[in-house]
Protein backbone atom coordinates (compact mmCIF):
# COMPACT_ATOMS: atom_id res chain seq x y z
CA UNK A 1 0.00 0.00 0.00
CA UNK A 2 2.72 2.44 1.00
CA UNK A 3 4.60 1.52 -2.14
CA UNK A 4 1.57 2.18 -4.25
CA UNK A 5 1.22 5.58 -2.62
CA UNK A 6 4.86 6.39 -3.36
CA UNK A 7 4.37 5.40 -6.98
CA UNK A 8 1.30 7.62 -7.27
CA UNK A 9 3.19 10.62 -5.95
CA UNK A 10 5.55 10.77 -8.91
CA UNK A 11 3.04 10.07 -11.60
CA UNK A 12 1.94 12.64 -14.15
CA UNK A 13 -1.57 11.38 -14.76
CA UNK A 14 -2.98 14.03 -17.06
CA UNK A 15 -0.24 15.89 -18.93
CA UNK A 16 -2.65 17.23 -21.56
CA UNK A 17 -4.91 18.80 -18.98
CA UNK A 18 -1.88 20.16 -17.20
CA UNK A 19 -0.79 21.88 -20.40
CA UNK A 20 -4.27 23.35 -20.89
CA UNK A 21 -4.22 24.59 -17.30
CA UNK A 22 -0.93 26.38 -17.88
CA UNK A 23 -2.46 28.12 -20.90
CA UNK A 24 -5.32 29.18 -18.66
CA UNK A 25 -2.98 30.56 -16.02
CA UNK A 26 -0.96 32.51 -18.58
CA UNK A 27 -4.15 34.04 -20.02
CA UNK A 28 -5.25 34.93 -16.51
CA UNK A 29 -1.99 36.70 -15.70
CA UNK A 30 -1.94 38.61 -19.00
CA UNK A 31 -5.52 39.87 -18.54
CA UNK A 32 -4.80 40.79 -14.93
CA UNK A 33 -1.84 42.94 -15.91
CA UNK A 34 -3.84 44.55 -18.70
CA UNK A 35 -6.28 45.71 -16.04
CA UNK A 36 -3.44 47.01 -13.90
CA UNK A 37 -2.37 49.18 -16.82
CA UNK A 38 -5.94 50.50 -17.23
CA UNK A 39 -6.05 51.25 -13.53
CA UNK A 40 -2.83 53.24 -13.50
CA UNK A 41 -4.02 55.44 -16.34
CA UNK A 42 -6.92 56.96 -14.39
CA UNK A 43 -7.06 59.67 -11.72
CA UNK A 44 -5.88 59.50 -8.15
CA UNK A 45 -8.50 58.35 -5.68
CA UNK A 46 -8.45 57.37 -2.06
Amino acid sequence: MAEEKEKRKDKMEAPGTFALSIIFLVAFIIIWFAHLKWLIEVWGVK
Partner: protein, 179 residues
Amino acid sequence: MAIKEPERIWWKPYTRDERLWVAMALLWMMVSFVFMPVYHFIGAQNPPNETYRVGDKEKFRALVDGMVNKYKVGEEKGFPIVKPEPGSDVFVQASMWQWYPILELQQGKTYRIHLSSMDITHGFSIQPINMNFTVLPGYDYVVTLTPTTAGDYYIICNEYCGLGHHLMVGKMIVKQGGN
Protein backbone atom coordinates in the same frame (compact mmCIF):
# COMPACT_ATOMS: atom_id res chain seq x y z
CA MET B 1 -16.88 7.27 -9.99
CA ALA B 2 -18.50 10.56 -9.14
CA ILE B 3 -21.85 8.79 -9.08
CA LYS B 4 -20.82 5.96 -6.73
CA GLU B 5 -19.52 5.90 -3.19
CA PRO B 6 -15.70 5.84 -3.27
CA GLU B 7 -13.58 3.16 -1.60
CA ARG B 8 -13.35 3.16 2.18
CA ILE B 9 -10.24 5.30 2.34
CA TRP B 10 -10.00 7.84 -0.43
CA TRP B 11 -7.58 10.18 1.33
CA LYS B 12 -4.59 9.66 -0.98
CA PRO B 13 -1.50 11.65 -1.86
CA TYR B 14 -1.56 14.03 -4.83
CA THR B 15 0.14 13.11 -8.07
CA ARG B 16 2.90 15.29 -9.45
CA ASP B 17 0.67 17.24 -11.83
CA GLU B 18 -1.90 17.80 -9.09
CA ARG B 19 0.71 19.09 -6.67
CA LEU B 20 2.25 21.36 -9.24
CA TRP B 21 -1.06 22.80 -10.39
CA VAL B 22 -2.36 23.48 -6.88
CA ALA B 23 0.94 25.12 -5.96
CA MET B 24 0.93 27.38 -9.02
CA ALA B 25 -2.72 28.29 -8.67
CA LEU B 26 -2.29 29.04 -4.98
CA LEU B 27 0.77 31.16 -5.65
CA TRP B 28 -1.05 33.25 -8.25
CA MET B 29 -4.02 33.66 -5.93
CA MET B 30 -1.67 34.90 -3.21
CA VAL B 31 -0.30 37.52 -5.61
CA SER B 32 -3.80 38.65 -6.51
CA PHE B 33 -4.78 38.79 -2.84
CA VAL B 34 -1.68 40.54 -1.53
CA PHE B 35 -2.08 43.15 -4.27
CA MET B 36 -5.22 44.54 -2.63
CA PRO B 37 -3.83 45.60 0.77
CA VAL B 38 -0.38 46.44 -0.64
CA TYR B 39 -1.79 48.74 -3.31
CA HIS B 40 -3.43 50.78 -0.57
CA PHE B 41 0.10 51.76 0.47
CA ILE B 42 1.85 52.06 -2.89
CA GLY B 43 -0.94 52.88 -5.35
CA ALA B 44 -2.72 56.11 -6.16
CA GLN B 45 -6.16 54.64 -6.86
CA ASN B 46 -7.97 52.86 -4.09
CA PRO B 47 -11.62 52.68 -3.07
CA PRO B 48 -12.22 55.45 -0.54
CA ASN B 49 -12.82 54.58 3.06
CA GLU B 50 -14.59 57.61 4.56
CA THR B 51 -18.33 57.61 5.16
CA TYR B 52 -20.76 59.68 7.24
CA ARG B 53 -24.38 59.12 8.05
CA VAL B 54 -26.74 61.79 6.72
CA GLY B 55 -29.64 61.71 9.13
CA ASP B 56 -31.33 64.75 7.62
CA LYS B 57 -31.04 65.13 3.85
CA GLU B 58 -31.76 68.87 4.12
CA LYS B 59 -28.51 69.23 6.04
CA PHE B 60 -26.59 67.88 3.06
CA ARG B 61 -28.60 70.05 0.67
CA ALA B 62 -27.65 73.08 2.78
CA LEU B 63 -23.97 72.19 2.47
CA VAL B 64 -24.34 71.96 -1.32
CA ASP B 65 -26.15 75.29 -1.48
CA GLY B 66 -23.58 76.94 0.79
CA MET B 67 -20.77 75.78 -1.45
CA VAL B 68 -22.61 76.93 -4.60
CA ASN B 69 -23.17 80.40 -3.12
CA LYS B 70 -19.56 80.75 -2.12
CA TYR B 71 -17.73 79.40 -5.16
CA LYS B 72 -20.10 79.93 -8.09
CA VAL B 73 -18.23 81.19 -11.17
CA GLY B 74 -20.78 80.71 -13.95
CA GLU B 75 -23.74 78.83 -15.22
CA GLU B 76 -24.44 76.30 -17.95
CA LYS B 77 -27.92 75.18 -18.95
CA GLY B 78 -29.30 76.30 -15.62
CA PHE B 79 -26.69 74.47 -13.58
CA PRO B 80 -24.25 76.58 -11.54
CA ILE B 81 -20.55 76.03 -12.23
CA VAL B 82 -18.64 75.87 -8.97
CA LYS B 83 -14.91 76.38 -8.60
CA PRO B 84 -13.93 75.26 -5.11
CA GLU B 85 -10.49 75.77 -3.58
CA PRO B 86 -8.07 72.87 -3.87
CA GLY B 87 -8.08 70.69 -0.79
CA SER B 88 -11.54 71.82 0.25
CA ASP B 89 -14.70 69.85 0.88
CA VAL B 90 -16.86 69.68 -2.24
CA PHE B 91 -20.47 68.53 -2.10
CA VAL B 92 -22.24 66.81 -4.97
CA GLN B 93 -25.90 65.97 -4.77
CA ALA B 94 -27.56 63.19 -6.76
CA SER B 95 -31.29 63.12 -7.32
CA MET B 96 -33.71 61.87 -9.93
CA TRP B 97 -32.31 62.68 -12.52
CA GLN B 98 -29.46 65.12 -12.17
CA TRP B 99 -26.02 65.68 -10.68
CA TYR B 100 -25.81 69.07 -9.01
CA PRO B 101 -23.79 71.29 -9.43
CA ILE B 102 -21.16 71.37 -12.20
CA LEU B 103 -17.65 71.27 -10.74
CA GLU B 104 -14.63 73.09 -12.07
CA LEU B 105 -11.46 71.51 -10.71
CA GLN B 106 -7.78 72.13 -11.26
CA GLN B 107 -5.56 69.50 -12.75
CA GLY B 108 -3.26 67.84 -10.23
CA LYS B 109 -5.03 69.32 -7.19
CA THR B 110 -6.80 67.18 -4.61
CA TYR B 111 -10.43 67.63 -3.53
CA ARG B 112 -12.60 65.91 -0.97
CA ILE B 113 -15.75 65.19 -2.93
CA HIS B 114 -18.79 64.30 -0.82
CA LEU B 115 -21.43 62.25 -2.61
CA SER B 116 -24.93 61.73 -1.34
CA SER B 117 -28.33 61.02 -2.83
CA MET B 118 -31.56 62.83 -2.04
CA ASP B 119 -33.87 60.00 -3.07
CA ILE B 120 -32.74 56.55 -4.25
CA THR B 121 -29.50 54.78 -5.10
CA HIS B 122 -27.47 56.29 -7.94
CA GLY B 123 -24.16 55.39 -9.56
CA PHE B 124 -21.47 58.09 -9.87
CA SER B 125 -19.61 57.25 -13.07
CA ILE B 126 -17.05 59.71 -14.43
CA GLN B 127 -16.68 59.37 -18.18
CA PRO B 128 -14.74 58.90 -20.35
CA ILE B 129 -12.10 57.96 -17.79
CA ASN B 130 -14.52 55.40 -16.36
CA MET B 131 -14.35 55.60 -12.58
CA ASN B 132 -17.36 54.37 -10.68
CA PHE B 133 -18.74 54.82 -7.16
CA THR B 134 -22.05 54.08 -5.50
CA VAL B 135 -24.14 56.92 -4.12
CA LEU B 136 -26.64 55.99 -1.41
CA PRO B 137 -29.36 58.06 0.20
CA GLY B 138 -28.69 58.59 3.89
CA TYR B 139 -24.92 58.26 3.50
CA ASP B 140 -22.15 60.64 2.56
CA TYR B 141 -19.29 58.99 0.67
CA VAL B 142 -16.10 61.06 0.70
CA VAL B 143 -14.03 60.47 -2.43
CA THR B 144 -10.65 62.15 -2.23
CA LEU B 145 -10.06 62.82 -5.90
CA THR B 146 -7.03 64.12 -7.79
CA PRO B 147 -7.83 64.71 -11.46
CA THR B 148 -4.63 64.29 -13.44
CA THR B 149 -5.85 65.15 -16.92
CA ALA B 150 -7.61 68.29 -18.11
CA GLY B 151 -10.77 68.47 -20.17
CA ASP B 152 -14.54 68.17 -20.00
CA TYR B 153 -15.79 65.13 -18.14
CA TYR B 154 -19.30 63.85 -17.77
CA ILE B 155 -20.92 62.09 -14.86
CA ILE B 156 -23.43 59.47 -15.88
CA CYS B 157 -25.60 57.39 -13.60
CA ASN B 158 -24.88 53.70 -13.73
CA GLU B 159 -27.36 52.43 -11.17
CA TYR B 160 -30.96 52.09 -12.30
CA CYS B 161 -32.93 54.95 -10.79
CA GLY B 162 -36.26 54.95 -12.55
CA LEU B 163 -37.48 55.90 -15.98
CA GLY B 164 -35.28 58.96 -16.40
CA HIS B 165 -32.12 57.01 -15.60
CA HIS B 166 -30.70 57.57 -19.09
CA LEU B 167 -31.21 61.34 -18.80
CA MET B 168 -29.05 61.68 -15.73
CA VAL B 169 -25.86 63.28 -16.99
CA GLY B 170 -23.74 65.77 -15.06
CA LYS B 171 -20.58 67.65 -15.92
CA MET B 172 -17.15 68.18 -14.44
CA ILE B 173 -14.53 70.51 -15.93
CA VAL B 174 -10.85 70.01 -15.22
CA LYS B 175 -8.67 73.05 -16.02
CA GLN B 176 -4.94 72.98 -16.44
CA GLY B 177 -3.03 74.14 -13.37
CA GLY B 178 -2.27 77.84 -12.74
CA ASN B 179 -5.51 79.50 -13.88
